[in-house]
Amino acid sequence: MAERFTDVPTVRQQLREVDYLADDGISGVVFLADRLGKPILVEGPAGTGKTQLAKSVAEMSGSRLIRLQCYEGLDEAKALYEWNYKKQLLRIQAERNADGSWEELEDDIFSDEFLLTRPLLEAIQADDPVVLLIDEVDRVEVETEALLLEIRSDFQVSIPELGTIEAKQIPLVFLTSNNTRELSEALKRRCLYLHVDYPEMDREKEIVLTKVPEIAENLADQIARVVRSIRQLELKKAPSVSETIDWARTLVLLGIDKIDAETATETVNVLLKYQADIAKAVKDFASNDQLGS
């Protein structure tokens, strides 16, 4: 099978070209996933770019992104395939007066034309290179997890009426999880595990610079520092990377070129979403003022 990537630094470089700043861990695991033909299980706090990683990898390798959003109650019909029975009924009715045999009709209504492909089947059938993103896999029940697993392990689907469909190429698979429940050992064992955490200060600054190009460098620097300080407080929900970016945009729109305690207090609601957290952060900014003076 053709390898998508040449080596780790190249992966990193290419991800950067599509505005995704990967660290060693991320680029290394993406590279390995391709070489070993294994899916990547991405975990980490919300808003650290787990889904974005899959999107960026698709963009950089010129693949189509097929996304399966998981939710409680997701089943085979929604994940894999379904017969379009309304259309089948129509067909049968239209056929009623013609004198074709039942066998012919049966062959007819169980053909590709009446098959509704869902994301998993679509990924397997695809001729072009695809990246399959199974988002928030922790939301499905354990039984559905097993279905995902089965398909992922041999990349083929048997449809009783049509036969077995085998994958023409092995897609790169990303599973993301917000860790609301423990995933099964079997699933974890088959995946490469990648924990995406809040970025280091320097990387966060770079991310801000990339995503908000009109920002001044020293402001980006300040933003990254303030966010780092806030993350050190014990909060219910620490600011995510996307919230940092939102904050940067806000500051740019407001025409602020230097953060002080006052502007930080006024705009902190962009970063933090819980009242208790906001109060804590504001108190922190203020208490600091008294210490200084």
């Binding site: 080596d7 780790v8 070993l36 860790n179 595990y193 990648l194 930080a264």
Partner: protein, 496 residues
């Protein structure tokens, strides 16, 4: 033997077999440390490293992590083992494996000279014959500028000078770290950095100052890490990989003993508890939703059977009545078991929607109800903090007196306990030789549905010294040893 394996791995272009051998040892050590590494994962790791250029240490590390560590909580344990097993690579780390003895004299700066050229370019520059003052000055400069290579060099120097390491001592290095840090006086340096930066930019706002301060803090902690790593490298070189890994082995967060957790472990426990409670709550809610059907509803079954000519073809079942107990938590919050009480309260309140009511009481030798602290607060941590600081729990001298605390409970709240109540008593039952008043527990047991005693001490310590848990246990429905998060989680789940 270890030495040869390490030497093989140290050479970037060495044959693969010593590396695989080292990897096998590495994986055994991971399992010893409690990480569940399966055979397939082991094979994956072996395959993965063949795709990774071995010189790229950090990618190598992540490749191993991606294949071997499937739980973020285990990352730290992995990292420690990794550092021990794979820290010899890269020229600036190498300590000559030939030299069997180490000379830790003050002026032993030029060890790299005899290292067959593998220790060149260590950025150690003017290390030779530096006075302690010069070293301090260098440290200050390095922290001010955040120069990484300079910090590494200083860490090296400092360890050589101050740690006073002796070969062959079976220690984990904490003592050496302490000695090194004490001599470096990092607090003093921090102060100087802060005052200096104030002098340089007098108009700097306090907000900026704070940010600057955070930056220095980050650099100092980086330096500390560097020093730790340096000590570890030397210890590994001295005592071999396996021995070192064994000394450094630490319990995983879910296995950390509440009673003996260090400050760092406490912090990691606090971090671990939040996702744990969330998971537990989700699991319990789900269980309730998909729980089994209730017992056969005979009346309705017969009624429907009429439409089948008297054949009970369609059995009907009662809806299960979810049993929602009232929980009474009575917790000892004296010094020795405070942490345990804190985590238990946290967990109980996090799933309080599984109970009709939760009432909590804390005591040392007096007893106080703290239920109101948890009313309408969305931050449990905050409430628990208030419990520990504001509750009125001292009666005489602030030494645990279970007997008196129970007496107070019985007098004030005993009448509230009813057949729906489940009473949880948390404590080590170290009663300082006061009267046990265990008849109260008997009374409570008669009235309440269940009484559970949770003891954070290992079972073998029970009833030794002033522990009188045995006297109480007689009247409890069950007594549990709950020493770590894993046991606590199990207990709470069973409770519901």
């Amino acid at each position: 033997m270890t030495d040869t394996a390490v030497a093989g791995a140290a050479a970037p272009d060495g044959e693969p077999s010593p590396l695989l051998e080292l990897l096998a040892g590495f994986i055994i050590e991971l399992r010893e440390a409690g990480l569940p590494v399966s055979l397939t994962e082991n094979l994956d790791a072996m395959e993965a490293v063949q795709h990774i250029p071995i010189e790229d240490r950090s990618t190598f590390k992540y490749a191993l992590a991606a294949t071997l560590v499937k739980n973020h909580g285990h990352w730290k344990a992995f990292e420690t083992v990794f550092e021990v097993y794979f820290s010899m690579r890269g020229s600036q780390y190498s300590i000559d494996p030939e030299s069997s003895e180490f000379d830790f004299d003050f002026d032993d700066d030029d060890q790299q000279g005899q290292g067959q050229g593998q220790g060149q370019g260590q950025g150690q520059g003017g290390g030779q014959g530096m006075s302690p003052e010069e070293l301090a000055e260098m440290l200050y400069k390095a922290l001010q500028s955040g120069d990484r290579s300079m910090m590494q060099a200083i860490a090296r120097q400092a360890v050589r000078r101050f740690a006073g390491m002796e070969p062959g001592r079976p220690v984990g290095g904490t003592y050496y770290l302490y000695r090194t840090l004490r001599n470096l006086d990092l607090d003093g340096v921090m102060e100087r950095l802060n005052s200096e930066s104030k002098l340089e930019n007098p108009e700097q706002s306090s907000f900026d100052e704070r940010l600057q301060n955070d930056e220095y803090k980050a650099r100092v902690s980086e330096l500390k890490k560097e020093i730790e790593a340096e000590i570890r490298r030397m210890l590994v070189a001295d005592r071999g990989v396996e021995a070192m890994a064994k000394t450094l082995r630490k319990p995983l967060p879910e296995d950390v003993d509440f009673m003996h957790a260090t400050r760092e472990e406490m912090a990691s426990l606090r971090k671990a508890i939040y996702p744990l409670t969330r998971k537990l709550a989700a699991r319990l809610a789900r269980k309730r939703k998909f729980g089994r059907r209730g017992p056969l509803d005979f009346r309705r079954t017969v009624r429907t059977s009429l439409s089948y000519g008297g054949v009970p073809a369609d059995p009907k079942f009662r809806h299960p009545k979810p049993h929602k107990p009232e929980i009474y938590v009575i917790a000892d919050i004296s010094g020795s078991v405070a942490a345990f009480a804190r985590f238990t309260l946290h967990l109980v309140y996090a799933i309080s929607n599984q109970f009709t009511k939760v009432r909590s009481f804390v005591f040392i030798d007096g007893l106080d109800e703290v239920t109101s602290y948890f009313d309408n607060v969305d931050d449990i941590t905050e409430a628990i903090h208030r419990v520990n600081t504001e509750a009125d729990v001292v009666w005489v001298d602030g030494h645990s007196d279970y007997g008196h605390a129970f007496t107070v409970f019985w007098e004030k709240f005993g009448k509230d306990v009813g057949p729906k109540s489940t009473v949880l008593i948390l404590g080590d039952a170290r009663n300082n030789y006061h009267a046990s008043q265990s008849w109260i527990i008997k009374e409570i047991q008669d009235k309440a549905r269940q009484v559970h005693w949770l003891n954070p001490e290992p079972r073998s310590y029970w009833d030794t010294g002033d522990s009188i848990v045995g006297e109480y246990v007689e009247y409890c429905d069950a007594v549990h040893e709950v020493r770590n998060l894993r046991q606590l989680e199990n207990f709470v789940e069973k409770l519901v």
